[in-house]
Symmetry: C2
Subunit: 353 residues, 2 copies
């Protein structure tokens, strides 16, 4: 007997994006982090927080956080299941619904953590390639009809957004669960939250990591109708969300003005970055996220990655089919865009405009 | 097709201990929480924490926390895997090592979350009853030889502590993993950490919830030799521990004087509580934890629970074999003990001394 299950022994673990050494000065555009600090309301909530209360277990359902999220999204808080980041929800879903004889399907390329979760559960992985324009292959996913179907929208790394009506149609054709992972939706023109109201097999995932500048806090949640959540909660850790993150997350969500301003800045900078890269000969794929997938002039994605890294600019490159000539670049502040463009020009990647 | 796996559909979820309504004044001795606030160093660390940095993902391995833990425990920090509470480690272990054909074994009665995790994985559950004196059935667990064996020591709800040499012998006879869950060990006379150095199939779990007064923060970790951790980390969420809890937890662990004082107070109060209950005719079982398992005079555990609840004192009762005449009572502050004893006397549970 080996210590671990065969599928665990066989798999490689998920490899997170590179993080700079402490004190290293870099322009960090490789993990789609928000370039702005969280709302000042988070700092206020931290100051007001009673540390003495940390001796007690937190509310297992993080009701305060779910209430804030419900108000912001206009859904009953009973439709919301909190997570230690939206990763936590993805793990709960895989444990509850996938396994031998219960496949996981998802478009490719996409967030590789869905594959990792399928590997852990020993589930068949059905990878459906995105169309030539990288639009999400909704029709093909319906034909596959997996026990658990993941659609990341806006999708990482492509930026593609799936239409809500198309997702509702997909859900209607599936006999399993459809997960719409909207980690990046704050930066898109439209969301698919309404699909939850229409279909009892749909869960929408949201996170505070991107739009709320709180990747360090680990807060996410799923929105679904109560019968779906009743099954899912069985795989939840007893107290998965700490009392302090829950309080800070609720404060961040309630500061609507800050969120709107932060999102507007990033959308505006995304447009400027796209134009500047197009002027340099990059193909820029349409993106609803706080990042752009771009095809590098000349087609050497890895070369461009390394040239930028040598100039202290971190972006993301994926060593996989259809992405070898591409980079994924997070949208930062205007100074970050300037630094990226200067580094590209210095390295001679793309035309000098 | 149902949305969830058959074993998920069939199981009931874990039910956490009762929490009082907000604003309700109770003496809360039902979840083995520490009655004292966390170290002042936690408050200082929170004040000093740069909230702006929360926009970035945390260190996936929570190195700062593991370094503090390694220094305190005298083990290399590479032997430590951080968790969102020790529940998180229990879940990683179940996902990595248990499943059909790979049973989970544990003594009974014990922490019911091991059973929950086995149910989620569809693993056979081998429950080995504790001896008549509730000592842990180490020898029988060796005969079972499960893929994953859990020993909670000090055990909840019994308080029993397993001997380190006996655990090492058990590990040597197992071909699977032995998990020594030491959530309560801060309050015991001895621990079994040394077993990790002797056996490559052993992981010791620790938490900051009990001894460090931080149940609300969700911090735990596993200590094992690197080859075991290499398999286990594959089932870890990418960023399971937030940057803020990691910083506060490291500060709490480094305040050795506060920890020692806090533990000393609880051990002293545990002795006083035990004597007072014995004087009232309770049988008090030996405990290495911050709680006592007691047999109620007259044998009506549920009646005693309800009588105390009616007097705003919460304790824990387990509706299960061998525990129907018992309560588990957390050790609180001297005033909490006084309130508990007054409520017992008022309700006429036990002799008036």
């Amino acid at each position: 007997m080996t210590y671990f299950r065969k599928n665990i022994e066989a798999m490689a673990g998920y490899v997170p994006g590179e993080q700079p050494e402490a004190g290293q000065r870099v322009v960090k555009l490789n993990q789609n982090e928000n370039p702005y600090p969280p709302s000042p309301a988070v700092v206020e909530a931290m100051k007001a927080f009673d540390a003495g209360g940390l001796r007690l277990y937190p509310d297992p359902m993080a009701t305060a956080l779910c209430k804030a999220a419900g108000e912001v999204l206009g859904v009953p808080s009973e439709w919301i299941l909190p997570g230690d980041g939206s990763d936590d929800l993805i793990m709960m879903l895989a444990r509850a619904a996938a396994g031998p004889g219960r496949p996981i399907a998802y478009p490719t390329p996409t967030f590789p953590f869905y594959r990792t979760q399928g590997q852990i559960e020993g589930a068949e992985l059905v990878e459906v390639p995105a169309a030539e324009d990288f639009s999400l292959p909704i029709g093909r996913l319906a034909e596959v009809n997996a026990a658990l179907t993941f659609v990341c929208s806006p999708n990482s790394p492509t930026g593609a957004v799936a239409d809500a009506d198309a997702l509702a149609e997909l859900a209607g054709r599936l006999s399993g669960i459809l997960v719409i992972d909207e980690a990046y939706v704050d930066f898109a023109d439209a969301d698919a939250l309404s699909v939850v109201g229409r279909c009892d097999n749909v869960i929408v995932l949201r996170t505070l990591s991107k739009g709320y500048c709180l990747a360090g806090l680990r807060l996410g949640f799923g929105i679904a109708r109560p019968p779906l959540l009743e099954g899912l909660v069985k795989t939840k850790a007893i107290y998965n969300v700490g009392a302090l993150p829950a309080a800070l997350g609720a404060a961040a969500m309630r500061d609507r003005a800050y969120h709107a301003e932060c999102v507007a800045r990033i959308r505006s900078e995304r447009a400027r970055l796209a134009a500047a890269l197009e002027a340099r000969g990059f193909v820029v794929w349409p993106s609803g996220g706080n990042f752009l997938m771009v095809t590098v002039p000349g087609g050497d994605g890895r070369g461009a990655l390394e040239a930028l890294k040598a100039r202290n600019v971190l972006v993301r490159y994926f060593q996989q089919d259809r992405l070898l000539d591409k980079l994924r670049i997070s949208v930062g502040r205007p100074v970050d865009t300037d630094a990226l463009l200067a580094a590209l020009d210095d390295a001679g990647v793309g035309n000098t405009p």
